[in-house]
Amino acid sequence: MRLVALLITYVFINNFILVQFMGLCPFIGVSKNSESAIGMGLAVTFVTAVSSTVCYLIYYYLLVPFSLEYLQTVVFILVIASLVQVVERFIRVTSPSLYKALGIYLPLITTNCIVLGISIININEKYNLLESFVSSVAAGLGFTLVIILMSNIRERLELSDVPKSFRGLPIAFVTAGLMALAFMGFDRAIISNLHLA
């Protein structure tokens, strides 16, 4: 039950893009068409799931026993950067078709705030291993959901009459703002109403 609550929290209530503003750069940059949005979303979900699990293990089995917690930031970003490389190689060898779909997005993910953000949040909130895994998958899914919705809206925006100064980025931000307003409807109350917590 707690895991379902976590899933709802990070996909809808605390959506990483619309509420915490993490991963805004790829969100604005890659959401121009829906195909690349799906690719980016899946790649991010995959990397968050793997990297936050590895970060969790390293934090509790390497940093804590030697009381090196202060190295958290440095170690996590190194883990993420090297993992992204490993994942890229691995996918290239095992599944060329998947590599073709995700390949160009993988290097961009290192600097995606979501990946580092969820790893740090997992530690700060003292989640256990399974909870960390679920929360990071949920973070990725939340990102995927919003970026796909956004790309569909932006495909339509291309065809509509937007004032000149608003073309491109400004209208994308305003659209994201309106989406965030809609997402404010997902309140913490959902979790207690569904008897999940």
Partner: protein
């Protein structure tokens, strides 16, 4: 030298013109104190990393330069985190997860890659200070608008003014995450308009 310093203020303003480093910009811009704290923290990291990257540029192999830059940046972030935790614990708590996220702030890696790895240490420090001030200014501007309209107060660390009228009936949406995105859209449109007129 002066040009390196001032280009970050408006012409290449990291937030509104280059549109980099948005997570902290929108995430911590709910109050002016947080915005200034985040701006100073990012500027310190930026100056440190730009200086070190430009000193080490001849010794870092090209193929591993991005990971090396990230490690340099992460070390400075850790230093800033520890100092802030020790001397400004309230600010440290308010900035929360956004403080370690300075590591993946595109402005800092972007300046290391685009400027410091090609220029002299002095020019890189100037560039960092200029970009840092530009970032802090735009962050403070967003925070001021959000705090005044969304919360009806103006705060600067210890002292705080409540604005009559607005304090009782603030436009709460601007304090909410959605308001930050809307405001960013309108401000960016305003900057586009100003740029268009200049041309």
């Amino acid at each position: 030298m002066k040009k390196e310093l001032t280009k970050g203020f408006f012409k290449e303003n990291p937030t509104f013109i280059l549109v980099l480093g948005l997570c902290p910009t929108l995430g911590v811009s709910t109050s002016v104190s947080n915005a200034i704290g985040m701006g100073i923290a990012a500027t310190l990291v930026l100056v440190g990393s730009n200086f070190l990257v430009s000193m080490l540029k001849d010794y870092i192999a090209d193929s591993i330069r991005i990971p090396s830059f990230i490690v340099i940046i992460a070390s400075f972030v850790t230093v800033v985190q520890m100092v802030m935790n020790a001397y400004l614990p309230d600010l440290y708590a308010a900035l929360g997860v956004y403080l370690p996220l300075i590591v993946v702030n595109c402005i800092i890696l972007g300046r290391a890659e685009a400027f410091a790895s090609k220029n002299s240490p002095l020019a890189s420090v100037m560039d960092a200070i200029g970009m840092g001030i530009g970032f802090t200014m735009s962050l403070t501007m967003i925070a001021l608008i959000r705090e005044v309209i969304g919360n009806g107060t103006i705060s600067f660390f210890a002292w705080k003014i409540a604005l009559p009228g607005l304090k009782d009936n603030p436009v709460r949406v601007l304090a909410a995450p959605a308001g930050a995105l809307l405001l960013m859209g309108y401000l960016k449109a305003m900057f586009n308009k100003i740029q268009e007129k200049k041309k």
